[in-house]
Subunit: 252 residues, 4 copies
């Protein structure tokens, strides 16, 4: 298998606006995630909101096998043109890993077709992500659960379509549950939503979280095959009989 | 169970533009579908593209349990505002039955998150819709297959998300197959895509087709329950302990 | 819609062996469940392990639309013959609601194809069943969650196939989660697994629990349609050409 | 990734009983399949019905990542003990690829929980397997469809649980369709059913068929992670409060 090329996209605003967050992520959230991917042998590039075309030019997307998306407070600043570009690239096979508050990002909402709303609470809550799909490649190397002592809470109802495969379900100290690892496909592209990673916690340095994201990148990488074709297929593959007659056969 | 209220929406253009089609559907495609629903005890109203707000005012949608959508050549004329209104009403529980060429309608594409493209051919082809989900309420009263002697062909790949439940698979004379009866959910709303019904064939007068559409309306009707709530839930349902201490408990 | 006929099956041993449990369920667990169904207009019969053929004669099963199964400590005493009879009746359309410790009952394990094992603990734990499928008919009338102050804990991993539809996810006080409302289909039959109902708690008197079970019975009721046919279909529906020749057509 | 070890199991009776079939598969059907896997870099062993323990000792299964199963006329001769052994090994992570007439094999039926019946016809019929899941790893390198000029027909209804992922749908000349590539999971094991391969046709020499089987083996290989645990978890991960009191906390 050739090397997988991932692009880690981050709106990169919290780290500039808050010293406390910058102290946790001195190289940005994207930097920490890319570092984790590199540890797992994945070629990781980064792109951020304030770059031209948000760093997601046609060429960058064409060269990206899997796009990882972290956004939170600037969803509205992502241009419609880039959103549409990302959506179409997913349809053509690029994987997409949407992290944490990216549930309300424009590309994810467009690809889901739902509001993607949920309940949330910032209360330094314990989260325990239980594996419910024990043979899934995304849990390679992961024990029965991942425990995170302090995280933001996300709770049900999480307004997404029913996942094709549900991989993790989170328990939260305050009494909530959440479908925290969810697989979808859209066109030829595979999508994984993974919940943890609030900007005020060092979640993306944790070994298990890095393992899950790397596993997800491998799972979401495109398969190599001829493109799909659509539209008017005037010539049929098999003969179509003229109706009202019994044996006469014509090619469509 | 109280009476289900369906609204049959039709762009209603083919019937005005073509005498041949008007001869098949003198009361419009919507008229034929509504007549079929009435036969099955469903209260059916109609709405069409050229009415104010396309006939889909807030009040009409609020009073609609299940919306049936037929459109083909005027998808682009449906206003974004109405599309968004339909999408949100589905999220809040209204059922949606998308028929035939409605696969490219704006509401369906927005709810799916995919291109919804497919292969097609107009060649008076035989279609045989095989039931693959034998216990599903949508096939109540339906035999092992429905055979239609002449229809437009739709072929794979049909670019939709994997259906939650696949009910029918079509065989076509010219060598193609198609997932022709597909269930989805989006928010609290249930969606059924049903393939047959090209404007040049009297498909919506057929008893089995009417039966399937009526079954689908019953299946897609909203359930009555309190609305979902989203957003910041500052007060937790269970105590959250201050971290670093063992036994102290605080309410969030 | 004609009246749905449910049969509530209970091994009926705990109630005879323990005065404390008999005090909670003086008419047996089956009696309490049947009473709840009757409140919702469902015709409910009962059957128990120590009756001849465990109360599940061919005639009883033929007359049963939906079978509800509660068993715990006597799974091994259920005869293979009756298990096979139940399995085949499900394949032919009968609904099956498996409750609580019925996860290890022979019919459920045979229909799932997995071990159906799980984690458990008896510790008077709080359970909160969150609705994750807000438009599903099984949650008609149910709020965002059902809270039960004291129940036995069941935790993941629950070794079942991925449900066709996941309706409830439970939060437990002790740190576990559980997929507590799960829909499956097998042949023409629909199956719902519903977690609550340990014998030492009065769970089956609770209004929401009765509501869910009644909803599940309605959801699982058979659809009326011709039976499926299998086996050698020597005569094809369409002509099959002799290979190596172009236009000659023969009926298979 | 380390080398995947596959075991190809064949009942190996047709090849001994029929000269015509032996001429097609001089090294047995298992030999042809194993040869195809070796071409794709997969370490392939074989096992057959008439070997001691059908060639499937505990050690062989422990050393098998993915088991491929071809059986037809001797399903009844496979011992219950070996069937149970295979089922449990699948639960613990071994992949299983069930080919063609293996749909009625004991391990597959046990893992599905359904009758696995279908319609069939031997009429040298053309089959066209359409890809309906374009981003799935099992279709790597495969075009929009695979066309086989002559095969046995299998038709719906195919009595299996709804697949987790549907990868191929077959068109047959005689008017039938079939879900011919189906993914399931049971426990930690992944299962793929793939339809083509009647003993009277040289199907397992075809490049696309070999590609699909090799892809499926890679997809079905186990993930490496700690085993699941089940049973009584007396000690809870979180404190459980004594009910009726507000703040007192005890460890379960």
């Amino acid at each position: 298998m050739s090397t997988i090329r991932a692009t880690v996209w981050n709106e990169f605003r919290h780290e500039k606006a808050s010293e406390a967050i910058a102290a946790i992520y001195p190289n940005g959230i994207h930097g920490a995630i890319a570092e984790g991917l590199a540890e797992h042998g994945i070629e990781a590039h980064t792109a951020t909101l304030d770059e031209p075309e948000h760093g997601l030019t046609d060429q960058v997307l064409a060269d990206t096998d899997v796009l990882i998306w972290w956004g939170h407070k600037a969803h509205g600043e992502v241009s419609e043109e880039i959103v549409e570009r990302v959506q179409k690239r997913v349809w053509n096979g690029m994987g997409l890993i949407t992290l944490h508050s990216g549930h309300l990002s424009k590309p994810f909402k467009r690809l889901m077709g739902t509001s993607c709303e949920l309940k949330w609470r910032e209360a330094d809550e314990r989260e325990r992500l239980w594996v419910v799909s024990p043979g899934h490649p995304i849990v390679e190397g992961i024990d029965e659960y991942i425990e995170i002592d302090e995280e933001e809470m996300y709770g049900e109802h999480f307004d997404i379509p029913q996942p094709d495969e549900l991989v993790f379900v989170s328990w939260f100290e305050g009494g909530d549950v959440f479908r925290s690892g969810c697989c979808f496909s859209r066109g030829a592209g595979k999508i994984f939503y993974f919940r943890p990673g609030h900007e005020t916690y060092p979640t993306y340095y944790r070994a298990e979280i890095r393992q899950v994201i790397a596993n997800a990148v491998r799972w979401a990488a495109p398969v190599v095959r001829p493109g799909r074709t659509f539209g008017n297929k005037k010539v049929s593959l098999e003969p179509i009989r003229e109706k009202g007659e019994s044996d006469r056969v014509r090619m469509g």
